[in-house]
Symmetry: none
Subunit: 410 residues, 2 copies
């Protein structure tokens, strides 16, 4: 099965947003074993949408469109699909009711333009939207298929995962299975050297993907079914794990360093708290992003000002004066203070310069001290990150979770 | 002048990266007054690159390619441009010398495949690469132009700004100027109704873009220079602001609701603190993301467990028992307690069900209470959000900043 992606939205051609919808769908198609040969993006222009759709359908078996399902006049993807195949648009009453219920719940009046979102080409398979008003659909005609998905990324992902992926899996014969090994603390080029001789096979294949502070090693195999593919992956995966040891913190595209920390805490029946300065709530926010976080987190504190470090966490004024707030000593007292006041089993602290300015004493931007306090003592690490403010804060939080996980595994 | 972008790289079709090159070039073309009607991305496949190039040239005056200039065998963009126009490839000696000097400087041996990067279609205008080995070029033939740019974003940006932008500005007469008005609290379809009669002009134009919890209204004008374009935008912008009132919280593609709150706090010399339950640190983390946040934030607290709400913030046990933690009463006491213990001028609290589960009493997922406490009292809002856990938390944090801004502006 050969697919193409057609994204619709003037905001793409204006450069207001990157086409992350196309990226997401592409990655998932690769995992589902669907060949993808082209992305096209056009603006909210009926003639150009229809022209691009026709071209894509002349080359591909299925075209997946993203965007252009909103309530406004220039949202016209479904209409152009109908026009291309010569189909009428028809009201889908369950969709209208779902949209009315959605608008009532969010307290907005139902406009005439919202009704438009409940019309579909005759015969379309409707894909309900769990996250917004615009349902998607799959239209099959003339031996081809067009899957119409909404543009907002969270709506697109939810609809793709729950509805389009199973539909595609049923259609596609071959099976690609992939494992994503998540590696923390080893840079991409060192990793490439460590695994050099493992890259030279066609099936299974090994590829590295670089993320902020971590690398994913993807092992993929193509086979007649999932079991056969998994059997091909297993020995390569085992060899990678043997070489990388505890730098492999988890597996799966949905895995993250905070989920790994959460799972470890939960399995041990333990709790954690954070004392954040430069990360300013990121550690807590990322842990709370994991469903069930209340089982391992009761409270957490951001102490950004020196006075707050002293008053809330009990950092000694002498420590702040002698070593400054950006010091191993301060990080240690922050973590130990947070653990004491919260009664948590573990505490992780961060203090550093995320930029744009470094310390008045010449300490460079990117200097961050991270401490992990537990019942067997406190570990402190001095890190030197490079990049913009947001990137440094993200890395500091990730290293905090990584230190916590390694301490727990000791 | 009509342009198209053709991006070359299998990594785009695998979904390994988003096409940020296309986004960057699109934004700059809009600023330079060059009309852009389509993005296309294909893999590192000679036949498909050549086919897509021919199609793009049949529609556009200029095609800007990104990627496929590396030293490896599957990098073939220049070769396909030459083949399309029937031109020979020719060694460009200054480029070869620059590549040799670059490789010597970074300490890598010069390979035969690096020589390939110094070959160009006969007659091409060479665009030297200040950041890497691959020079770009502009090929003009058959009344059309193809600009060939490298794929790595920092190389592309440098080459675009220093070399292609001046070339394009000389070619293009017109100038496009845009203003982005940021609107919070009015949904896209209601906004469209409120501004309906303003959409029907060709120049300036008005368009709406939907983001999480907010909408951007873009006003663009095409004129002979920036001043003339701005003069065309001003009356339309004034009319939009008159209709939308305080729902317009800022202007500019880089603006955000937390930056607006930060700027207001700073201009008044006031401070804020947060008492977060379901947002779990997101409010603090987003405010700390703004450089200079230490001027307006000293401390902040995540109180996820009921016991933490009571102990850290002083929420009354009777309140928790009678109304539960997800209640207007609890949100109010959280905000007032946080303001009291921190000494901040303002406090914002959040408590709700972000999912996957709602309340044991049947309160649905997405129910969030947000309170803002200040010296003139406390406001509480009950919100009903829909979507995944991460989306609900993001919306709750955004609404918290919006309530804070509106309270300050009262």
């Amino acid at each position: 099965m050969i697919a193409e992606i057609l994204s619709v939205g003037t905001e793409l051609l204006m450069g207001q947003i990157a086409n992350t919808d196309a990226q997401y769908v592409s990655r998932r198609l690769a995992e589902l074993g669907v060949a993808l040969y082209r992305h096209t993006a056009v603006g909210d222009n009926p003639a150009r949408v229809k022209e691009a759709l026709g071209e894509a359908l002349s080359r591909a078996d299925i075209v997946i469109t993203t965007g252009g399902l909103g309530p406004t006049e220039d949202d016209l993807t479904k209409e152009m699909v109908a026009e291309y195949f010569g189909l009428e648009m028809q009201l889908h009453r369950p969709s209208l009711e779902a949209i009315e219920a959605f608008m009532a719940r969010v307290g907005h009046p139902m406009g005439e333009n919202n009704r438009k979102q409940a019309y579909f080409p005759v015969g379309a398979l409707i894909l309900p939207n769990a996250c917004g008003t615009a349902p998607g659909c799959v239209v099959e005609a003339q031996g081809k298929a067009v899957a119409v998905l909404p543009g907002p990324p969270h709506e697109l992902k939810d609809m793709f995962e729950k509805q389009l992926a199973p539909w595609l899996a049923r259609r596609s014969g071959a099976h690609i299975e992939s494992r994503f090994l998540r590696v923390f603390g080893i840079g991409e080029s060192r990793l490439e050297t460590m695994l050099k001789d493992l890259f030279h096979t066609d099936n299974p294949t090994l590829a590295l993907y670089c993320g902020p502070g971590e690398v994913q090693a993807r092992v993929s195999a193509l086979a007649k079914d999932a079991d056969a593919a998994r059997a091909m992956i297993a020995p390569l995966e085992a060899e990678i794990r043997r070489r990388l040891g505890d730098a492999v913190y988890g597996e799966g595209a949905d895995c993250s360093i905070e989920k790994t920390a959460f799972t470890l805490l939960k399995s041990r029946g333990e709790t954690v708290t954070f004392a954040e300065s430069c990360t300013g709530g990121l550690l807590a926010a990322r842990l709370v992003g994991v469903p069930g976080a209340s089982e391992v987190l009761g409270e957490s504190h951001v102490t950004y000002a020196d006075a707050a470090k002293a008053r809330v966490l009990g950092v000694k004024p002498e420590t702040l004066e002698r070593y400054t707030a950006v010091s191993a000593e301060c990080a240690r007292e922050m973590a130990e203070g947070a653990r004491r006041i919260s009664g948590a089993d573990w505490a992780v602290s961060t203090t550093g310069y995320a930029g744009p300015d470094g310390g008045a004493d010449g300490t460079p931007v990117g200097t961050v001290f991270i401490a992990v306090a537990g019942k067997h003592g406190t570990q402190v690490k001095e890190c030197h990150f490079r990049g913009q403010r947001a990137f440094i804060r993200t890395l500091a939080a990730s290293w905090g979770f990584n230190m916590l996980r390694l301490e727990m595994e000791k």
